[in-house]
Amino acid sequence: MADATLDATVGHVDPNDTSSLQTMELTVNGQTHTLTLEPNVVLLDALRERLNLTGAKKGCDHGQCGACTVLIDGRAMNSCLLLAALAEGQEITTIEGLADEDGTLHPIQQAFLEHDAYQCGYCTAGQMMMATSILNDKDIAKDPASIKEAMSGNICRCGAYKNILDAVQSAHRTIEGA
């Protein structure tokens, strides 16, 4: 990672123009951050450029690729399409918050590792967040066609789709057996 982190509240807004700034509290991976942002800052850029949580990726900035997928109160959302201010008061989960605090990988992370369900790794956080959101849905997670349909908003240009499907099904079996 970079040697330095950015100050979350200052330095990235024009100090001479504070008229439009909004102060908000974002709860990310259980931790509350106070941010002062202009109202047009989307959640993805708030996470990446202000909080240095760079696991969610920017692949299109238009809600077309899924690389920025995070969980909002457990639901998968494109964080590039959500204004940061609108995420206030909700539980935001990013890839950085998926593993246990002791470092034990989430079953979906373990399954991705074992099934080589990635290549470059750029879409991977988005794929896993989307997968996590459907793992508890018994109908979706059992049936390959339903998984593929549900995950089709998450592009993997490396084409590791086969292994991603295997990983999601494997994680589902792990969770069901647990």
Binding site: E49, G59, I95, D116, Q119, G121, M151, R157
Partner: protein, 738 residues
């Protein structure tokens, strides 16, 4: 075989990639950084007469705007030489002149304190243009036989033509003459191109999403007239590139200039639209294939005339005929490729350049010939199997194409195919079977690496190549582990940094064959350096002939004596022993021809009632020499097949008549998604190719993408009787075809 090589190993960088900890370029946030946002031309051809900047300059947070009138006039062109490792994608410098050559050409770079401010101001920079009435496209009315009069460059295929193709064609018992075309495609790697530049005195550090840190360092060195040693290019993790990130693009120069002028780090993440317009494509290609054969299927003539579009800002020959001279035993072969300029952004290599488009045409033509001859398409190919490379007349280093055809056919169930069109049905669906051959040239280049024995028992391996997702980190660790006995989890692999010993581009499927021999050479050198120390007077092996000492299982051994490396380092009182070494190919290319081959079989389903075409399953058997890590290697082939499915059915970068690229986003440029993916069965044969290197590996990145588009189009013909020779096979195209 060993425990570590040719073994499925999870990626050693997996934990980082799965936790959000891998630092891709845009993830790097430097203290005090500014944000660059480019402005692209709204027209494709004409003159930029001026820029309206006042409003943008007055917007919040804007620090400066760079453009033609205030840019750095001291910059020089890179010589653009592959041999000297300074190739650039677009030779023209950013803002070099005011002529507009393509839609999206950068006309300004806004730099501001936040991403949002830079973007907002960029949207308010307006160009004043004098547009040409129409864009120039030398290939607009092209079919490959009428381009000879165009000012495009004639490329006779490197002397690969042989015999008398035209005369043999005239005398052939059976002939075929067809035209094929493939739309412009875009790499569309998930990671946006990005560059962060920061200067410290006269040293420049660039964080770049690149498939070649060394190439970019050398190119920047020429552009900025600085010694390479004062420049470092870093790319620890790359969100893949598929050729689009092989060579430097103008955004990197713009960003470095802005950083120097403003004395702050500047980070430019290229917006997706600009990645489409201004960061490479596989150019549109037009091909004509003429085949002559005897009635028994023996090929007597192959003539393959190709052409591709290039940009006015640079020459790119996509060499779509590159595989043709080597594919089949045929005494009379002629290949040409011509290139014509068009007002589009600069094209560049895209995964399996040459072979992927070229084998679409050739392997579709072979299928057409099989139908004409009423022969099984597999049998036709077997009939013309080349026992040695007919292009070079050298023996193959290793060639198991016949086994590929046989195995894949068996796994697929090819014997169930009926030789009539549209005769296989299930419910409302018509089933089509198709197949094609696959091929990619195997290459190996020079490479350096460094190996360090560390006091804590770990082994560090460093090389100035990079891992774009292919698994280079992991196979380097596997190799070092295999040769040293150090467990794979105790190997530190450092890549993606141009200050490391010079390594190759991540491209052309040559990284594995190139890097691993250098890792071995560096480990041998480091071992020798350690032996030299421990055989000196008073040291542990001072009584021993140094040539009899071996590195085994993380210890130096001589007969029964075995002392761990860590103990030796402790006794020597030093923290590490390190050595750098190089490895390069010998003269094996004079003795053998190196190619990988494969066979791909496809089933498609056509439902005429609802006009739905889908690929039902894919089977491919590939001969790539030895796979160092079969898990990551198979993943590469599967990914190539998926991209080939996109090439066959979906992908086209679309320009209107004014040259405007109108589907420059990931919703309108259609790539395969989960729902498009059928069951894929990939078999990797295991015939190590020791003529190419001691590891037997020929590389695996490209070959999956070859042949697959032809196999799909051949299957579509089998199902529908419609021969679609233009990619992509869109539903509209299929419905309109006779």
């Amino acid at each position: 075989m060993s425990e570590t090589l040719n073994t499925q190993k999870p990626r050693i960088d997996g934990a980082l990639k799965l936790s959000g900890g891998a630092d891709y370029t845009a993830d790097i946030n430097l203290d005090g950084q500014l944000y660059g946002y480019p402005v692209g031309s709204a027209i494709a051809s004409g003159e930029l007469e001026g820029l309206e900047l006042e409003e943008a300059l007055g917007m919040p947070g804007v620090v400066d705007i760079f453009h033609h009138d205030n840019f750095d006039s001291t910059l020089k062109h890179s010589p653009n030489s592959f041999a000297e490792k300074n190739t650039v994608s677009e030779p023209r410098l950013p803002f070099e002149d005011t002529t507009i050559h393509y839609h999206g050409q950068y006309i300004a770079l806004v730099v501001a304190d936040t991403f949002e401010h830079a973007r907002a101001a960029a949207q308010n920079v307006k160009g004043k243009y004098r547009a040409n009435d129409q864009v120039t496209s030398q290939l607009d009315e092209l079919d490959a036989d009428n381009v000879a009069g165009l000012p495009g460059v004639l490329q006779e295929g490197d002397g690969q033509s042989r015999g008398e193709a035209d005369a043999a064609y005239e005398n052939a018992e059976v002939t075929l003459d067809h035209h094929y075309s493939i739309a412009t495609e875009t790499h569309a790697a998930m990671e946006l191109h990005a560059s962060t530049a920061t200067w410290s005195g006269d040293h420049l550090t660039v964080y770049e999403s690149t498939q070649g840190v060394v190439f970019q360092r050398h190119a920047l060195s020429h552009v900025f007239s600085m010694p390479p040693e004062q420049i470092n290019v870093i790319s620890h993790f790359i969100g893949s590139g598929f050729g689009g990130k092989l060579f430097m693009w103008p955004h990197a120069i713009m960003t470095a200039v802005a950083s120097r002028r403003l004395k702050r780090p500047v980070k430019t993440v290229v917006p997706r639209q600009s990645v489409f317009t201004s960061a490479g494509s596989r150019p549109r290609s037009m091909q004509r294939v003429r085949l002559g054969a005897r009635a028994d299927g023996t090929l007597t003539s192959i003539r393959h005339d190709g052409s591709n579009e290039t940009a006015f800002v640079g020459m790119h020959n996509d060499t779509v005929i590159s595989a043709t001279p080597s594919m089949y035993a045929c005494e009379n072969v002629a290949v040409t490729n011509r290139v014509g300029e068009v007002n589009h952004g600069m094209p560049c290599p895209m995964r399996a350049p040459g072979e992927a488009p070229g084998l679409f045409a050739l392997e579709t033509a072979m299928d057409e010939l099989a139908w004409q001859l009423e022969m099984d398409p597999v049998e036709l190919r077997k009939k013309n199997f080349a026992e040695r490379d007919p292009a070079s007349d050298l023996p193959w280093s290793s060639n198991h194409l016949i086994e590929c055809w046989d195995n894949a056919a068996k796994r697929f169930g090819w014997e169930n195919r009926t030789a009539e069109i549209g005769a296989m049905r299930e419910g409302d669906e018509i089933i089509g079977y198709g197949m094609a051959s696959q091929s990619w040239e195997a290459m190996r280049l020079q490479c350096s690496a460094r190996v360090t024995f560390l006091a804590d028992g770990r082994l560090q391996v460093s090389c100035g190549t990079q891992d774009i997702g292919t698994g280079t980190y992991t196979i380097v660790a596997q190799t070092a582990s295999e040769l040293s006995g150090v467990p794979i989890e105790d190997i530190d692999v450092r890549l993606g940094d141009s200050s490391l010993p010079s390594g190759p581009l991540s491209g052309g499927s040559f990284a594995t064959a190139t890097v691993l021999p250098a890792v071995k050479a560096a480990l041998d050198a480091a071992t020798q350096a350690l032996i030299d120390k421990v055989t000196q007077d008073g040291q542990a092996f001072s009584d021993v002939d140094s040539e009899s000492i071996e590195l085994n299982d993380r210890a130096l051994t001589y007969g029964d004596r075995s002392i761990p490396v860590t103990t030796l380092l402790e006794e020597l009182g030093i923290g590490q022993v390190t050595a750098e070494a190089s490895a390069e190919p010998g003269d094996e290319k004079n003795d053998y021809s190196f190619r990988s081959f494969g066979a791909v079989f496809v089933e498609v389903r056509w439902d005429p009632g609802i006009s739905r075409l889908k690929v039902e399953r894919i089977v491919s058997t590939i001969d790539i020499g030895r796979a160092i890590n079969p898990m990551t290697a198979r993943n590469q082939v599967e990914g190539g097949l998926v991209m080939g499915l996109g090439m066959a059915l979906f992908e086209q970068t679309e320009y209107d008549k004014s040259g405007y690229l109108y589907n420059a986003n990931l919703a309108d440029y259609i790539v395969p998604v989960h729902a498009d993916i059928p069951p894929i069965d990939v078999e990797l044969l295991d015939y190590p190719d020791y003529h190419l290197n001691a590891f037997g590996a020929r590389g695996v990145g490209e070959i999956g993408l070859t042949g697959i588009a032809a196999a799909i189009s051949n299957a579509v013909y089998h199902a529908t009787g419609k021969r679609i020779r233009d990619l992509p096979i869109s539903i509209e195209r299929l419905l309109m075809a006779n």
